[in-house]
Amino acid sequence: MSRNARAWAERPKFPPTHYVDTRLYTDPEIFEEERRKIFDHTWIIACHESELAAPYDYRTFRHPGGQNLVVVRGDDQVFRAFYNICPHRGNVLVQQPAGNARALTCIFHAWTFDCRGSSTGIARRKEGFQDRLDAADVGLRAVRATVGYGGFVWVNLDDEAEPLASFIGSALDILAPHISAPLEVFHYQQVVVDTNFKLWHDTNSEFYHDYMHYFNRVTGMQQPGYFERRYTPFANGHASVGSMQVQYDRYDGSSERKVGWPGLAPGGWLLVDIFPGMTFNLRTSVIRVDTVIPLAPNKVLIELRGLGLAGDTAEERAARVRDHNAIWGPFGRNLHEDLLGVRGQGKAMRDGSTGSRWVLHGREEDNTIHDEVGMRHYYATWSHFMGRSASNPFGEAP
């Protein structure tokens, strides 16, 4: 039976932990608050160490909190991150997304900075500033950076935030044996889609949507072990999903993967979601890592990375790239479908108050693969950070 306007607006007959008010995905006030209360205080993947392979290599990063950062590998091999802003006139300091420079030089007035963020050159300083400007007062703003969990460079804008290891806890333990060897990024892609960042992370946090993926249905859902895959929630909103043996040869024209992954059983597939918007996805022969960068309530930039082993032979790398592209490349089967899904959600929710009103997270299947515990766990942490209920973010009377 269809519902009239009043019935449509009624709260779902679930516990408040099992549904979300869609204004979480559309409200500008909530969006700004998320940047300040969540992204400014949590560890975020900025890039991978293989993107800065040599001393003085740099890499820019648009932080989800809105700040422009630059990561630099020092001559001492230490990775440091700074606001990518010249302290003089506020210009973007490094203009290119990646490069190598012994001195970071602002094109505007030729001020220079070293790989430790110290001011090393102020054009015609004596003539203009005499003795009134101390170089120590115009260094770059340093941002906490640390390398870990597969060689990723993590940053945190909060100088007082807990250490990365404490933030991650044991969430990535399931991947630890498989990401101890050096990794290398072979694929980098940005996707901008009109949807809220959490909806992309939600998609990475539930497998019920395998019904959307023909590839996953025939190689996974219809195969033994699929419904035994289990979610494990961890502190701070993270969650992992256990493995199965994917039957790649069940897809027309496909075959078993020619290369595997150290320590992973053939056809294995492990996934870890990291709060507030990163996903590690090790699928048999290749790792994909997503990072969401919210641009507006209904617009997100997703950074997609594909990684192999740094020690790959040319043949092994080619096989990993081929496997990656088949489902996760820009023309891949699954990525396009996932993006169609979240774009549709963004379209349905863009008018907030009159369109989609609630999103259900009500499936309970003993934490197995179609249980929606991953999303429920995420929103419990979201509520903790935000001081708002995800199902009643504005504290309205039931």
Partner: protein
Amino acid sequence: MSVAGSVTRTDVEELIYRTFLTLDARDFEGYLALWSPDLHYSVRAFSPEIRRDMVWMDLDRSGLETLFRTLGRHNSDPSPLTRHATVCTVALDVSRQQATVVSALQVFRTELDGGETQLFAVGKVHDTVTLAEGGPRLRAREIRLETRRLGIGSHIPF
């Protein structure tokens, strides 16, 4: 005169244009008929972010056939793509019975709902055309994309 010697630049240009017209029309059978049996199709892009050349598609005939054959089982954006190519250079090599062709490519995407058209991708197309018996056929195509943000992507290549 050999077959290769009778092939003109116009013949080669027309082959190139037909490949895009058949894809626009989703005439996959007609598209594959324009290729030689030993075809090689690839899409590449250089990433300034990771400073690497990236392979985004790398298919032989079997791979392309599978891609087209399985399309109907997937959820795909139904918005049509329109490929505009301009053949820039054609180098005919009669002795090797082949031509090498460089074209500029622009791909537009038209929303099914409302018909708004937006630029989807730009790049260059590097083709190798065989001029052996049976008329010109495409043997190898490498599309080098400048555009790396492809929105929600596409199941059908360029």
